[in-house]
C-alpha cells in the first residue's frame, strides 16, 4: 500500500472516529441533562481540533516512514485522478450541509441545528471522500 493510500485510509478513520466521538459525547451529555450547562460548542470544537491535529500527526508520521523506506511520496497521475474523484464525490455533501445551514438560518432555527448541519456536511463529505478514494485505490476509478 502506497503512502497516499495509507493517508486516505487514515483520513477516513479519523473522520469516522471524530464524528463517533462527538455523537457519543453529545448523547452522554444529553442523557445527563448537562448539555445546556456544558454546551455543544466545546464538544464540537474539541472534536474538530483533535481531528485536525490527528490528521497532521498521521500525515507527518506516514511521510517520515515512507521517506525512511525510500518510498516515493510524490503523487503520480493515478493518485491525482483518485484525489479528484474523491473530491467530486465528497463535494455533494459539502453543498448539502451548506444549503441546509443556510435554509435553517433563513428560517431562524436554533444555532445548535445550524452548527450541526454544517458540521455534518463537512464530516459526511470527508467520510464519503475517504470511502471513494479507498475504493478507487482498491478497484480503480469508475471511468
Amino acid at each position: 500500500m502506497g503512502v497516499r493510500e495509507k493517508n486516505a485510509w487514515a483520513m477516513l478513520l479519523i473522520a469516522i472516529a471524530g464524528v463517533t466521538g462527538y455523537l457519543t459525547l453529545l448523547a452522554v451529555n444529553l442523557d445527563r441533562g448537562s448539555l445546556s450547562e456544558v454546551g455543544y460548542q466545546p464538544l464540537m470544537l474539541w472534536t474538530i481540533g483533535l481531528g485536525i491535529t490527528a490528521g497532521i500527526i498521521v500525515h507527518i508520521t506516514l511521510s517520515i516512514r515512507a521517506g525512511l523506506a525510500g518510498e516515493s511520496q510524490d503523487a503520480d497521475e493515478r493518485d491525482l485522478q483518485i484525489e479528484r474523484f474523491g473530491t467530486n464525490v465528497g463535494q455533494a455533501f459539502l453543498v448539502i450541509g451548506g444549503l441546509a445551514g443556510l435554509l435553517m438560518a433563513l428560517a431562524e432555527w436554533d444555532w445548535f441545528w445550524i452548527a450541526n448541519a454544517l458540521y455534518f456536511g463537512f464530516v459526511l463529505s470527508a467520510i464519503l471522500e475517504g470511502v471513494a478514494e479507498v475504493v478507487a485505490y482498491r478497484r480503480g476509478v469508475p471511468w
Partner: protein, 70 residues
C-alpha cells in the same frame, strides 16, 4: 449503446523478458509509484497516453505490443 471495452497489457511478460525488471524499477523509469504499475498491470487503471508511450519506450517496443484494445 456503447459496448464496454477493456485494455489489456503485456507488461508483466515484458518485465520478465527484460531481465526480470521489478515493478519498482519500471515505476521509477516512468515516474510512477510501484502501486500504480501494479494497478496498470492488473488492468485496474488505464494510464494516460503519455505514460503508455513511456512504458513502451522503456521496453523498446511499439505501443500496441504493450497495450491491446479489445
Amino acid at each position: 449503446m456503447v459496448k464496454p471495452t477493456t485494455i489489456t497489457n503485456r507488461i508483466r511478460a515484458l518485465r520478465f523478458e527484460h531481465g526480470e525488471m521489478t515493478q519498482a524499477e519500471l515505476g521509477k523509469q516512468i515516474g510512477m509509484t510501484r502501486q500504480t504499475v501494479i494497478a496498470i498491470e492488473q488492468s485496474r487503471y488505464s494510464p494516460s497516453l503519455e505514460t503508455a508511450f513511456r512504458i513502451a519506450q522503456v521496453f523498446g517496443v511499439p505501443l500496441d505490443h504493450v497495450f491491446q484494445y479489445n
